[in-house]
Symmetry: C2
Subunit: 258 residues, 2 copies
């Protein structure tokens, strides 16, 4: 692992325009990097964190709810809990498995293996005049991250690791935090098992979820209302490599909260 | 809410000595702030994140395992899964409720209402020559944060919000992230319900877990091996106030993963 840095910076990219389906997101982000004071020139220890919404919009991972006919189960749940039955239908379509569907909360496991509220289907910040459009999670968020990374590399020659982030709730705690849903160019986990602590004791079970912490750090400057979809995180001491978000998904046999 | 900042910095404090029971932690941290380039002078938008281990050590929230006699249940679990029966015993003593105890994993609910592996009882980085000592979570982590905040204010006149952090695992995802276990001087949650998104749509369920994201951002420069127990997070746009970590604990009636 690289030595631990003593200072980290998170720089929100400025002037990313409203993203639409078919847009070259890497080009838009690269322009924003060039335009943002302190972001350019990119450095060796930078990571680009991009929020899911713009990735899904650029890729067309959206659904117009006016085209959706909810199944009876979706209508019943929506009626009971004052929700949009068509959105509930989309969540169920995107689900590999329903984890919880009670108290108005719908938690599903997506095809990626993520367990989250509404399977990542989201209506907020979709765009002006978007009516009843919702975004889905990108089909292959690692590939989404890789395309952005490749697009930046083509334009600048810089190999910039990319994290695609989304906001997830957690059991037992209120509030949402941003976590990683796709990565390219970095190891999402920092596995310290077998290394020793400050006092020389072996650490038995310490695996740092670096990619999730990068996403959370970025959220602090991106927020939910500001229209900022991406940030450069500088100096996090990540380990480069061809990692995958699949490394972060706990397999069923280790999952004590099915 | 303050306007969203465009840049965040996380500055690891330098030269915090090995902390021992009875030490004036606020004084040690204040000295470290003064000693760390870029940290001093403190600013209005700073938050101090302090990791649990040094708080527990300063407060004497430690147990010498040589004094612990495990109950049969602890011995049996430890034997099956190659763990220290005395540490398992301490975890059970600290627990209000056992959430899961299987596959060698012991997840409990602490008296604070936190649900985490081993109830926050931890043997790593306890100190040199500490033999079989483990740390417990601070009895009242909000009060711990308040004491540090008050100690810094006495010495510098600056009202510096404080977050006490610890590393928690999560269901469904590998790896640990730092979260808040105590706060003073800030609102741990940023409740955006009722406000509108970038496109003017009301946001129905967005509550940002700011204190947890501050803890995660700090972890990126503190790590697990570097002997760094605290960081200043500058520019996070937090909302000041007399918040409590209790706001972040989900009550049983909303908990779908008992």
């Amino acid at each position: 692992m690289p030595s631990m840095p003593s200072e980290l910076r998170v720089i929100a990219l400025e002037g990313v325009p409203e993203v639409r389906t078919g847009d070259d997101l890497a080009a838009l982000l690269n322009d924003a990097i060039a335009r943002t004071p302190h972001a350019a020139p990119l450095r060796e220890d930078d990571v680009l964190v991009v929020t899911q919404k713009v990735v899904s919009k650029a890729e067309g991972a959206i659904v117009d709810l006016s085209t959706v006919r909810p199944r009876p189960e979706a209508s019943e749940f929506a009626r009971r809990f004052d929700r949009d039955a068509r959105q509930v239908e989309v969540v169920l379509r995107e689900a590999r498995r329903v984890v919880r569907m009670e108290q108005g909360v719908l938690i599903t496991e997506t095809e990626h293996g993520f367990v989250c509220a509404n399977g990542g289907v989201d209506a907020s910040n979709v765009g002006p005049d978007s009516g009843s459009v919702v975004t889905l999670l990108p089909r292959d968020p690692d590939a989404s991250a890789a395309r952005i990374r490749e697009g930046v590399r083509e334009r600048t020659g810089v190999d910039l690791p990319v994290v695609v982030s989304d906001s997830f709730g957690r059991p037992w705690r209120w509030g949402i935090v941003d976590v990683a849903i796709g990565v390219s160019g970095l190891a999402p986990l920092d596995d310290l098992r077998g290394s020793v602590d400050h006092d020389g004791r072996p650490m038995r079970s310490t695996v740092r979820a670096i990619a999730d912490e990068l996403a959370s750090a970025a959220e602090l400057v991106l927020g939910k209302t500001a229209g900022r979809p991406a940030a450069v995180v500088r100096g996090a001491g990540i380990r480069r490599g061809e990692g995958s978000i699949r490394e972060m998904v706990m397999p069923p046999e280790n999952d004590l909260f099915r």
